[in-house]
């Protein structure tokens, strides 16, 4: 399944919709999108992950990248992550960097 990413920014809240497989090859596009949101001065980043079918460890690391790119004052929420993905995020301790939110 291919990867699709969409960004919209409303009143400095950036919303990223992820669909498909976020693997190492797709991570670059994700990074570029996070860059775009940061440059636009977003104060909150909401990542909708409910339609992700696969998240590789490179994809997971993209969340760390987002945190480091956006800075500590920006809240980052991952919404609707499938349970296996959410569990991996928690076990690896990445939930320290981002908030996991049920859909």
């Amino acid at each position: 399944m291919s990867f699709d990413i969409r960004l919209r920014i409303n009143e400095r809240i950036a919303v990223i919709e992820l669909t498909g497989e976020l693997d190492a090859a797709a991570a670059g596009r994700f990074h570029d999108t996070v860059d775009e949101a940061a440059t636009a001065g977003a104060i909150e980043l909401v990542i909708h992950a409910a339609h992700l079918s696969y998240l590789s460890s490179a994809g997971l690391r993209s969340l760390v990248f987002a945190r480091q790119k956006m800075g500590d004052e920006v809240r980052i929420a991952v919404v609707g992550a499938p349970e296996p993905v959410a569990r991996t995020i928690r076990l690896a301790g990445f939930d320290h960097s981002i908030s996991l939110v049920d859909a």
Partner: protein
């Protein structure tokens, strides 16, 4: 320079192709595999190889994707370095193939049929899930991988606790939460341990010491339990495969290759809780064993560099495991130093405990060195400057250095004499009052000229009886280990209190609890650094097995039912917590300098004084089994802070004694903190005044702790 500019650098372009891969000569340092713009640089040392190639696998593939020989011009000195462009690091596993002479007498054991693991690999796959059956025919069982070094540490820093203020808790990552009773979401993992941090805080320990977490193979034990036929494991992990890689099988996320992140999260959360982390590291030998052992890495890259060899090229065996790492060879020194620096800088580790550390001061021919360069280098290294260094100051070939390990004012030691003295005294051996006094004062006989933090005091450790077994078994019961009970130590200095093993007798059980409390009292009120074995605070048993290195089962795992289940040992647990809190509250027990038995601050009292049935009259005779001591609070932290007087009396005699207590300064009175014949200790600050201000009855086989402070309630 921005990342974009970096991408444009000249060395970001390949100079040639090998088997279709775009490559260029790499930089020799750092060793290992590292990301560079557009590619990955691989660097490996071998002095005597005649040819070297880089072997690339897709993750999990049986056969290599490619094998790229290092061209002669990619070699600098004895270092082979190459940058390969366009690799997908996430799905890459790599190794090396070294060709060269097979001439054991000359020290060479090259074997070009093997794919060798990178000694500097920072991530290793192959044993990703603990105990999972591997492909035993894998041409490359322990596969080097490339991690991301982008962990979000936030503002994490070391708690930087002075060594003499530590209370160390020795535990095993898997054993701590693997038991079904642990209630954590990922039992037996770094994440599981992280979930138990609140328990550690409540217990009061401020340093966790982990049994080996460098990648090892839990399946390298060929034995089975003769009674059940079940596989025995290498459970403790003292057989390192890869020194820079955290054990994947200890991570719930190991199957995703995220063990480094999970482990770092554990470290970060321990630090947030004010708890330091010390790693038990095994540099004395490797998992390659002797001539019969597997060729994993070092043997095939440069056998004569990495191992101590006899003049005939055989392996010296000072470790008792088949080989001995050639620690004072300059190349190996560099390896050890790089490794420790890496764990401190990349994983924020606060200290190391060195297994069989006496080996680290042996020369390449095995001779003990008076000024071993490795130990000196570690002591003065800038990155390790504030890292705790703890030696197990002996080895398996008779080199025993407790008290005279080359320390450079930096090293602490596991004090085996403290362990033996306390065990023997408490069980009732005669003639030990003088020696116990010395041990409780921080062992100044062993550590003259050093601070009391030189002595890591312990009564039990992973190797040997648990505290409960120490008072429940006269002899070891290691039948489950498959060696006819011949393995494990015989000199345990244990006493079963009248019955071997579990007892239905209320008297025996009460005496055992009291004896455990007696040993904990001595341990936690002695000068030096106390270390507890995990589970001892709740009476954990191994059913008399004193060598559970191979037991990955309930014999080794912490049964959390002892903490909060129907079989809970609340009395012991609460007592241990109270004692730890008492130690933290009383700096007089934690001074850096050894006491000298004289008044150093003009308080009218010596820093430490000795007593017996009569105040100021200790009975040092051979038949005596009673000792009391008083610490003068004005001497706390070498006179820099004010504390109460603390009086500790221990009685290993089977009869009680009426003690005359030393007088306190006017206005102060003795208060009872703990008496091991009573169920519970008093809460801190609410110690109860004595019925008779100058006397106390010390029961048989018991200990008491009194606090001398203002008579009016504060």
């Amino acid at each position: 320079m921005t990342v974009e500019e970096l991408r444009e650098r000249v060395d970001g372009f390949p100079t040639r192709r090998i088997h279709g891969y775009r490559v260029r000569a790499g930089r020799p340092f750092p060793y290992g595999a590292h990301r560079v713009p557009g590619g990955i640089t691989f660097s490996v040392y071998s002095d005597r190889a005649t040819a070297m190639s880089l072997v690339l696998f897709e993750r999990g593939a049986k056969e290599p994707t490619a094998e790229l020989p290092f061209p002669p011009e990619f070699r600098v000195g004895s270092v082979y370095a190459m940058t390969v462009f366009g690799l997908d690091a996430e799905n890459l596993e790599y190794g090396f193939r070294a060709d060269g002479p097979f001439d054991p007498a000359a020290g060479d054991r090259f074997d070009a049929s093997k794919v060798l693991s990178d000694p500097y690999a920072r991530l290793v796959s192959g044993r990703d899930v603990w105990g999972a059956e591997p492909d035993w025919d894998d041409v490359y069982p322990y596969r080097a991988r490339i991690p991301d070094d982008d962990f979000d540490w936030g503002d994490d820093t070391s708690p930087s606790i002075p060594t003499e203020d530590l209370v160390i808790y020795e535990t095993h990552v898997r054993g701590f939460t693997r038991h079904p009773s642990s209630g954590v979401s990922a039992p037996g993992t770094y994440a599981g341990l992280r979930e138990k941090i609140p328990y550690l805080r409540e217990l009061g320990v401020n340093c966790v010491e982990l049994l080996p977490v460098f990648e090892f193979d839990e399946l390298d034990n060929p034995r089975t339990d003769p009674r059940t036929g079940e596989r025995l494991h290498n459970y403790w992990g003292y057989n390192t495969v890869s020194f820079f890689a955290p054990k994947a099988g200890y991570a719930a996320t190991g199957r995703f290759g995220m063990q480094a992140d999970e482990f770092k999260s554990l470290v970060r959360e321990l630090h947030r809780a004010g708890i330091e982390i010390v790693l038990d590291v095994v540099f004395n030998h490797t998992a390659e064993g002797n001539e019969q052992g597997p060729t994993i890495s070092f043997r095939g890259l440069d056998n004569a560099t990495y191992y101590m060899l006899t003049p005939r090229g055989e392996y010296y065996n000072f470790s008792g495991t088949g080989n001995t790492v050639n620690c004072n060879h300059p190349v190996v020194r560099d390896f050890v130093l790089s490794c420790l620096r890496y764990w401190v800088s990349e994983y924020h580790i606060d200290g190391f405990r060195f297994d069989l550390a006496a080996i680290l001061d042996r020369a390449p021919d095995g001779t003990p060195l008076p000024n071993p360069p490795l130990l000196e280098q570690l002591a003065y290294d800038p990155v390790l400057r504030h890292t705790k260094l703890i030696a197990e100051a002996w080895d398996a070939a008779g080199l025993y250095q407790v008290g005279h390990f080359p320390n450079y004012g930096r090293w602490s030691e596991w004090n085996g004499q403290f362990r033996d003295t306390v065990r023997r005294f408490v069980k009732g051996d005669a003639g030990l009052v003088g020696e116990l006094a010395t041990r409780m004062a921080g062992s100044p006989d062993l550590y003259q000229g050093r601070t009391s933090s030189a002595s890591v005091n312990f009564v039990t450790a992973h190797d040997g009886f648990t505290l409960n077994d120490l008072v429940s078994y006269n002899g070891k019961h290691n039948e489950a280990n498959g060696e006819n009970n011949n393995d494990g130590a015989d000199d345990n200095h244990s006493w079963n209190c009248g019955e071997e093993g579990p007892s239905a007798s209320a008297h025996v059980r009460e005496l055992r609890t009291r004896q455990m409390k007696n040993m904990l009292t001595i341990l936690l009120t002695s000068q030096g650094v106390p270390m507890l074995l995990a589970g001892d605070e709740a009476g954990r048993t191994q059913l008399g097995n004193n060598n559970t290195y191979c037991q990955d089962n309930e014999l080794s795992w912490f049964d959390w039912g002892l903490v909060d289940g129907p079989t809970a040992e609340r009395e012991l647990l609460d007592f241990t917590r109270a004692l730890i809190a008492f130690r933290h509250a009383h700096p007089v027990l934690r001074s850096a300098d050894h006491p000298i038995g004289a008044d150093r601050v003009g308080s009218g009292y010596p820093d430490i004084s000795w007593h017996g049935v009569r105040a100021w009259s200790p009975d040092w005779s051979d038949h005596s089994r009673t000792l009391a001591l008083m610490r003068c609070g004005r001497h706390a932290k070498d006179g820099t802070v004010r504390d109460d007087h603390v009086y500790i009396a221990v009685n290993a005699h089977w009869e009680g004694h009426d003690l005359e207590l030393p007088h306190l300064p006017p206005g102060d009175a003795w208060h009872l903190f703990a008496d091991t014949t009573m169920t519970a200790a008093r809460p801190l600050g609410a110690e109860t005044p004595l019925e008779h201000p100058g006397r106390y009855h010390l029961g048989p086989h018991s200990a008491v702790v009194l606090v001398g402070r203002a008579a009016d309630p504060r």
